[in-house]
Amino acid sequence: MIQHSRIIASSAFLAAAAAVFVLPDWMISLATIAFANGLVVLGLIVLWRAGLVSFGQALYYCIGAYAVALVGRWTGITDAILLVLIGGACAGLVSFVVGFLLARYREIFFAMLSLALSMILYGVLVKTESLGSTDGFSVIVPTFLGYAPHQDGLLAALYWLVLAVCAIAALLVDAYFHSVAGALAVPLRDNEIRVEFLGLSVSRLIHTKLVISGLLGGLGGALAALAVGHVDPNMSYWTTSGEFVFITILAGAGSVGPAFVGSLLFESVRSFAVAMLPQLWQLLLGSVLLLTILFLPQGLGSLITRLRWRRGVEAP
């Protein structure tokens, strides 16, 4: 059934790419941000499968974003692809270093420590006048391999860039999930001691997952920075991390696709809620989260799994 889902995924990707020509600008904008955020959620899923819930992915999101903003401002680099790679690399580096500490923790303490780290960055950014303090600062308009599109062209270019990065990330992460290291997520969650006794270093496995999620978070943040055109310390605030966690719950942590679908859904619901009920969108979000937890504990992904099972395609 891998073939089946591959076909669906490819069609969805092509449809999404073609959507630029059909859908209005605000939708494309929304989708761009949603897919960029979807990368962060993908990183969360990598950790979630191993039983680790990070309340601090905003750290990498923010690092990716600020890296793009700063590099764009201080150096002559304007190429979007290069900027995004730099953003991802910076975040990945930080996650590598931070991972030595974080890999020792599990469950609530892992969540809290990751939260603390993101709040440390927040504190630093807010107090740093040269980086715009709470206002943040703007991001340069990127170029794409020499081309400098404007208006609609820029919108489309950013959208396709995000789609491309997401597609590549999705393929790589999916391959990872099928590898020994990736598939060990569930055994790690079930019984770490046994994994260690079977011959693998648990902390190295988890460290790898931390780096992967950091990279993805940074890529997402970098893309978001380019799409929005602005960065600010709020990108590192714990509520930003909370939103990513929220989407992960909505999506269900089973596989790759739901990360992006869930993110799209969340952005749509949030935009709708903010537009229709500006005073009550948190209430709406909270209610949706609550209902999802109560009635769809495996997230939206489980809906799809249940459908497949009913059609007799795979075991529940």
């Binding site: 303490f109 809290m112 440390i120 005073q279 009550l280 948190q282 609550l290």
Partner: protein, 298 residues
Amino acid sequence: MLTAFAILVDGLVYAAYLFIVAIGLTLIFGVMKILNVAHGSFYTFGAYGAATAVGIYFDRGLPAAGGFLLMALFAMVLGLALGLILERGVMRLVYGRDEVVMVLVTYAAFLILEDIVILIWGPGSYATYQPLLAAGNTEVGELILSNYDLGLIVVAALLAMISFWALKFTRYGRLLTAVIFDRETAAAFGINVRLVYTVTFVIGAMLGALGGAIMAPKIAVTLGIGVEVIVLAFAVVAIGGMGSIEGALVGALIVGICRAAAVHLVPQIELFVIYGVMALVLLIRPYGLFVRAQPRKI
């Protein structure tokens, strides 16, 4: 010398604030193993409730002491109601699920309650400085100390002593300790764990609301105060050890003094002193300062 004294006083005041806010959180976590994000909501409701109480009371020329009492009572009643509704209505539905799921449920509740605050009190901010003024000041050498702040320290100290006494010497306190240590065995001994949960949650809610009420005169009561508090309370509880009241006390003191020192000496790092301390403590003692040993697994 003066700076040292100022740091000490400021540190104690901040520690008092942190302790009052954190004690409810650590209690709920210790007993129910739930990291209650909605604690921020209890705090918020307490603060807004106090603002309302102050608005009703203080401008009528009645004795100030009554005002303090009213603030506290009003907040605790709100906490009681909120805690009951939340525990019986929502938490009850997810007992037995993963720890993280429970945290997320409390996060959802927090989001909902944030907007309910707006529905009830509107988006504006409330100034509740009257109790602060009413308390007056004390002069110690060149320093002018607010009596309200000093009162804060007294209240925190009282709270600490009452909780220690209650845990060790009252029947309920000992039941609580039993449930904290081993829920299943406690249930096997006939302790009504569900009832203990409800009572604990409600007490935690009341303490959170009390924290909000007490702090209301010192801050601008407006949207978003709950958000800040959550993270601070979490950090204190993590430092002290989840479920440990002594830990919350020691954690609050450490953070309070460190932050005061930062404010006076190195203002740039003030905002993340607490997280730095938390990261440092967790490096050495992964589960916080006061935590019991883990039993052998294989």
